[in-house]
């Protein structure tokens, strides 16, 4: 579907990415920043998977009942890798946020800056 000559699916991905980026830079709460990062990651995954789809495509599984054209298998495998990396990043960041909260009692960047 086209919008002003742009592929609407890709535009949606860009919008999602920018929403995440805004959360990342504008929010002062560390958890919200992390959520923003996850939204950005989701946008990237959506972009890659969208790029791999084909008109009328079947899943790339060669069994009876599916037929060409198939969706490209590479984006799926890449996104699987990306999801695992996203989980790892989220886990380490959350652990650090828990530590920051335990040490300073706050996870607001503004308040953390004012600490002696």
């Amino acid at each position: 579907m086209l919008l002003f000559g742009l592929d609407l699916d890709y535009v949606a991905v860009v919008v999602l990415f920018c929403v995440g980026l805004y959360m990342l830079v504008a929010k002062s709460n560390l958890l919200k920043k992390l959520l923003g990062l996850n939204v950005m990651e989701t946008a990237v995954f959506a972009f890659i998977v969208t790029a791999g789809m084909v008109e009328g495509g079947d899943p790339p599984i060669m069994v009876a009942g599916t037929s060409a054209p198939y969706a490209s298998p590479i984006p799926h495998a890449m996104v699987l890798t990306g999801i695992v990396v996203a989980v790892s990043v989220t886990a380490v960041a959350l652990a650090l946020i828990v530590q920051i909260h335990a040490h300073f009692g706050t996870i607001e960047i503004d308040e953390l800056k004012e600490l002696p």
């Binding site: 790029a51 599984i61 490209s72 590479i74 989980v87 380490v92 300073f104």
Partner: protein
């Protein structure tokens, strides 16, 4: 801060929009993504890997190194989380003025302590509604069965090791929330846990070694022996499901503690 953030977002958005404007439509069959190496995988994948699910074939076979490092990444993430000091006392500096006088523990330190320390048996049991408790206990076997189905039917249906790992982890986390983490934790023997957490990288190393012995290439698959190929893939999928699931559960428990 906010206007600058919006400006930055716009500065990022414009090149992105300009970039996607040059891409072929996302479902065009003649886009490069469908005509380059992806087409070759689809064409020869079954003959070369013996797998019917091409995503699995790309994941374990064509791009096996990628997946090997991937399971190492999530294992490393767990190691990093575990390496952080647990439940350490607050630093003397804080938002409140530091306590004066003797070296007693500041009052706010004990206040921030979770109750679990006093009574580990009722650990972190937020009161759960009976409805949630009933539904989770009712559905847990089916969720586990769904995970197993994704694992063992993953070669001919969408699914596979990572997906099964996510569902398995969800089962354990949901059970831990309604039953209390201690009862859920009893399901996995203590002695096994370190090995289960590392089972995915270990299995990859083992399979890579077997492939090296058989074909002379690290993580090589014997291209003409589909039985051996399937066995190697099967071992990897099970290891990914178990190892990934255990790591996810452990990560969750570390956050909670």
């Amino acid at each position: 801060m906010r206007p600058w953030s919006l400006l930055l977002v716009l500065l990022v958005a414009l090149p992105l929009v300009a970039g996607v404007a040059t891409l072929p439509p996302h479902d065009a069959p003649d886009a490069p993504i469908h005509t380059q190496v992806g087409a070759r995988y689809l064409e020869r994948g079954v003959a070369e890997t013996g797998m019917k699910n091409m995503v699995t074939a790309v994941l374990l076979n064509y791009r096996g190194f990628d997946t090997f490092i991937e399971v190492v990444v999530i294992f490393t993430a767990l190691a990093a989380v575990l390496a952080l000091p647990r439940g350490s006392a607050p630093l003397p500096r804080g938002s409140r003025p530091p306590p004066t006088g003797t070296g007693t523990i500041p009052e706010d330190a004990s206040a921030r302590r979770p109750r679990e320390e006093e009574d580990p048996e009722v650990a972190s049991d937020v009161p759960v509604s009976p409805v949630v408790r009933f539904v989770v206990r009712l559905l847990a076997p089916f969720m586990a069965m769904f995970a197993l189905a994704m694992l063992f039917r993953g070669h001919i249906t969408p699914g596979g090791g990572f997906q099964a790992a996510a569902v398995l982890a969800a089962v354990f986390i949901a059970l831990g929330l309604v039953l209390g983490r201690n009862r859920a934790a009893q399901l996995v023997p203590v002695d096994w846990r370190p090995w289960l957490q590392g089972v995915a990288p270990l299995a990859f190393a083992l399979v890579a070694w077997v492939g090296w012995r058989l074909t002379g290439a690290f993580l090589g698959y014997p291209i003409h022996d589909h039985t051996v190929q399937e066995a190697m893939g099967f071992v990897l999928e099970i290891a990914i499901a178990v190892g990934g699931g255990v790591i996810l559960v452990r990560l969750f428990l570390e956050m909670e503690a």
